[in-house]
Amino acid sequence: MSRLKPYAILLIMLLATLTGYASGQRDNVFKANKAYSDGAYSTAVEFYKKVVDAGFESPELFYNLGNAYFKLNDYANAILWYERAKRIDPGNEDIDFNLNVANTKISDKIEPLPEMFYKRWFNGLVRLFSVDTWAAMCIVMFITGLLCGVLYLASHVLVLRKIGFWLGLGLLFFSVISLIFAWSGYSFTKTTSEAIVFAPTITVKSSPDEKSTDLFVVHEGTKVRLMDNISGWYEIRIANGSVGWLPATSLEKI
């Protein structure tokens, strides 16, 4: 995966105008990392936030920011940034680990609904790599597959032709699979919006109205899926499938 990072770097290279700025921000990251290591977590948060505000993102940056918040006992923010990091790099074990630790610190313990096994497997595969990694893999396999096709056509040697044919076919097949995975991961981040509850304690209402019936209570740090949005209210669904409405001010979108 990290060996495919050169592609990301390549992308940065392409956006040459931003590169100089990025290097300046990288200094901020180093400063923040240093502050974190020294235990000055609020300073670390400040520097990380500077980088984020400058319009940069990176799973590592978000992860580090989440860590800094965690150390400040601000678990809701920690979860928010871990989740943001996870969105970019869903297969990262460190992010998962820290997110789990942070989730043990919050009040709500929600039993998630079990998913159908094929859905679970598919999502597991999709989350194995980040969208961009899947995309890069798709490109590499596609080009190699085509080269194998050329080999098949051009070669007079029977063995090479055979290798070219089967390898090319396999690579093209897997590049299509990668494309599907990249696409489904991409569409997940595009279509599903999630949020973290930021109010210390808030009652989920049955409709977008302060006077409506109280359904259940959620606390700071709980992840909710946003289903609908009506005049400052979000229809939310928590992991166990319960649905209700929360004011938008109590939520922070991932």
């Binding site: 770097i9 992308l11 290591s37 984020v52 940069f56 990176s58 995309a135 490109i139």
Partner: protein
């Protein structure tokens, strides 16, 4: 006392009988006629050593005590001969409560291993001739006939108990007071309530203490002076509507009744003297069972109209006061909500309030303290509910107003009391949430984790990407996908064309192979005639190899004896022809490079070449 006399008489009788005959006697004795409520004895006598006494199964008569076993033995010496007698008696104390004739079946006892049965008895229970003169009066019968039976004065109106209800048609939940009064003309003592009324359908509260002294008053009823005393006073709260019956109260008391023992001496003077009140002032203690009247209470239901939803049966007049001891606190600090309901009515029936607390509050069952004054007028006091609440989460919480409803007897309508709304500001406690959180640890202890923490930050590899720029679905991505695709397609098209052209040349060559070979052979023929030996052989060689190359599509560079042989075999050319062809080729090559005169074989080789080409041509067709 009379029992004892009977006993001793019997004992003596039996003992004397014992002397004469040693047969075992087991007999039952009792009074044949008893009055209702009279206590009498039933005695079984055995003149031998018995064991395993099995008493009778007496039905219809209450067994007060028994069997009480006693033994007596006597030794007699008459004229030097000693005789010993032993007597076993089993005594029951019985009481008959209903008129009628009762059979007492035989009792059994084992003597020397044999079972001996007693006689059966028949007891007639008659109506109490003088209810007030029970018990003791009967003992007179045992007295000598010289004195007449004691006639005891007293009637059923001498002493009686009556129950009074303060209100015989209350509303459901409205308190009433029921008072039991004893009316007596004679002095009484030892009032002993044997059966309390059961107040089914009521909630009751005793208004008199057990050991209260009876307050006596005098009252004149029907011209007779009675002493009246309240013996029981009970506050009752009907729990349901309808006709409710309060059972009678039963009590036993000892009435002191004047007895006039009429002594007849035959002398009028002495009769008068002894029968006057001074001498004849014998007082009999008469035990009497008294029963009050049942009281019927018809309870009216509470009106349905305007009945609040939270009404739980409180009737009377109440006030409510509620307060919290603090409104600003920190997590895990306790706050007490104190709710006091005070007033008059069935206050003790208020056992809970419909209070709801925010879910993040840990709440416990309320501590309920009652301060109730029970007076003759009824019940009043206050009921205090103390709710202990512990907020576990910070935030702003409100305890919503709660209501308490009761039916006001004075206003004749339902009244709902509402508490104020309490707002509690809960700050995060300094004690850190660790005190609250309990981590459910697994029971198995494989690895002991001393603590848990997040993993360290990523220090070195932070690749910053401008936000929102993703490789996937970007232009570069699509270009990287499409450009190789296009290149491949271009390659494919070019390759197709090339292949087509190449296959065309092969076909042409194939078709032209014979023609070219002929041309070359003709050239060789010319060289033969002009005697140019080297040129001739070159032409022959070229004709043969070129023919093969063109015919089988083998490039000249790849031509060899082996590859040609392989190609011919593939085309199913006859093996002998192949051999001949190979020979011709060999000969040509040999002749070409052999030293010395070459002209000799030229004619033959030319003919061989011509022949073999035409032969293969025929084979391939």
């Amino acid at each position: 006392m009379s029992n004892r006399i009977i006993l001793s008489l019997v004992a003596i009788l039996i003992c004397t009988a014992n002397l004469t005959a040693q047969d075992v006697q087991f007999s039952a004795q009792s009074k044949a006629v008893v009055a209702v409520g009279e206590t009498f004895t039933l005695i079984y006598t055995l003149n031998a050593q018995g064991s395993n006494f099995r008493g009778p199964n007496i039905q219809g008569i209450d067994m007060l005590s028994g069997p009480n076993t006693s033994t007596s033995s006597s030794i007699r010496m008459i004229n030097g001969s000693t005789s010993m007698s032993i007597t076993y008696t089993y005594t029951y104390l019985l009481q008959a409560n209903h008129e009628g004739t009762y059979n007492i079946p035989a009792a059994a006892v084992t003597v020397n291993g044999k079972q001996v049965n007693s006689n059966t008895l028949s007891i007639k229970v008659i109506k109490n001739p003088n209810a007030a003169a029970q018990g003791q009066a009967n003992t007179g019968q045992n007295r000598g006939s010289g004195s007449s039976g004691g006639a005891v004065t007293g009637s059923s109106n001498d002493v009686y108990v009556k129950a009074f209800a303060s209100n015989s048609s209350p509303l459901q939940g409205e308190g009433i007071v029921i008072t039991y009064k004893i009316f007596t003309k004679v002095p009484i003592a030892q009032i002993n309530i044997s059966k309390l009324s059961s107040f089914s359908g009521f909630w009751s509260q005793n208004l008199m203490k057990e050991n209260d002294k009876l307050q006596q008053t005098t009252q004149i009823i029907d011209g007779e002076q009675y002493v009246v005393a309240d013996i029981r006073k009970i506050a009752l709260f009907p729990l349901k509507s309808g006709r409710l019956v309060i059972d009678p109260l039963e009590l036993a008391c000892v009435a002191q009744v004047r007895r006039q023992t009429k002594t007849r001496t035959g002398d009028p003077f002495f009769d008068d003297f002894f029968n006057d009140s001074f001498f004849n002032s014998g007082v009999a203690n008469v035990e009497k069972t008294l029963k009050s009247n049942p009281v019927i209470i018809s309870v009216r239901p509470l009106p349905e109209e305007g009945k609040p939803a939270d009404f739980s049966g409180a009737v009377g007049s109440f006030t409510m006061h509620s307060e919290v001891d603090k409104t600003r606190l920190k997590t895990n600090e306790a706050v007490t909500l104190k709710n006091t309901i005070s007033g008059k009515g069935n206050i003790q029936l208020i056992d809970k309030l419909n209070l709801t607390f925010p879910p993040d509050f840990e709440s416990y069952d309320p501590k309920v303290t009652s301060d109730i004054q029970t007076t003759a007028a009824g019940i009043s006091g206050n009921q205090v509910f103390e709710y202990l609440l512990i907020p576990r989460k910070p935030g702003k919480f409100t305890i919503k107003p709660y209501t308490f409803s009761y039916y006001d007897l004075d206003k004749r309508r339902y009244v709902t009391l509402t508490s104020p709304e309490f707002t509690l500001e809960v700050e995060k406690g300094t004690g850190e949430s660790g005190a609250v959180m309990t981590y459910a640890g697994a029971n198995k202890e494989d690895i002991k984790y001393i603590g848990s923490d997040i993993r360290h930050i990523k220090d070195n590899e932070v690749n910053l990407i401008p936000a929102g720029s993703r490789f996937f679905a970007s232009l570069v991505f699509w270009l990287l996908l499409i450009i190789p695709m296009l290149l491949f397609l271009v390659f494919l098209v070019l390759w197709r064309k090339l292949a087509a052209r190449r296959s065309d040349t092969v076909l042409m060559k194939n078709l032209k192979a014979t023609k070219i070979a002929r041309k070359r052979l003709q050239k060789a023929d010319e060289f033969l005639k002009s005697g140019k030996q080297n040129d001739f052989y070159i032409a022959i060689s070229q004709a043969l190899w070129g023919y093969l190359s063109d015919k089988f599509g083998i490039p000249l560079s790849e031509l060899s004896i082996d590859s040609v042989h392989e190609a011919l075999v593939q085309k199913n050319v006859n093996e002998s022809i192949i051999g001949q062809f190979m020979e011709t080729l060999n000969n040509t090559e040999f002749a070409r490079f052999a030293p010395g005169e070459k002209s000799v074989n030229m004619e033959r080789i030319y003919n061989e070449a011509l022949e073999i080409i035409s032969k293969i041509e025929r084979e391939l067709r």
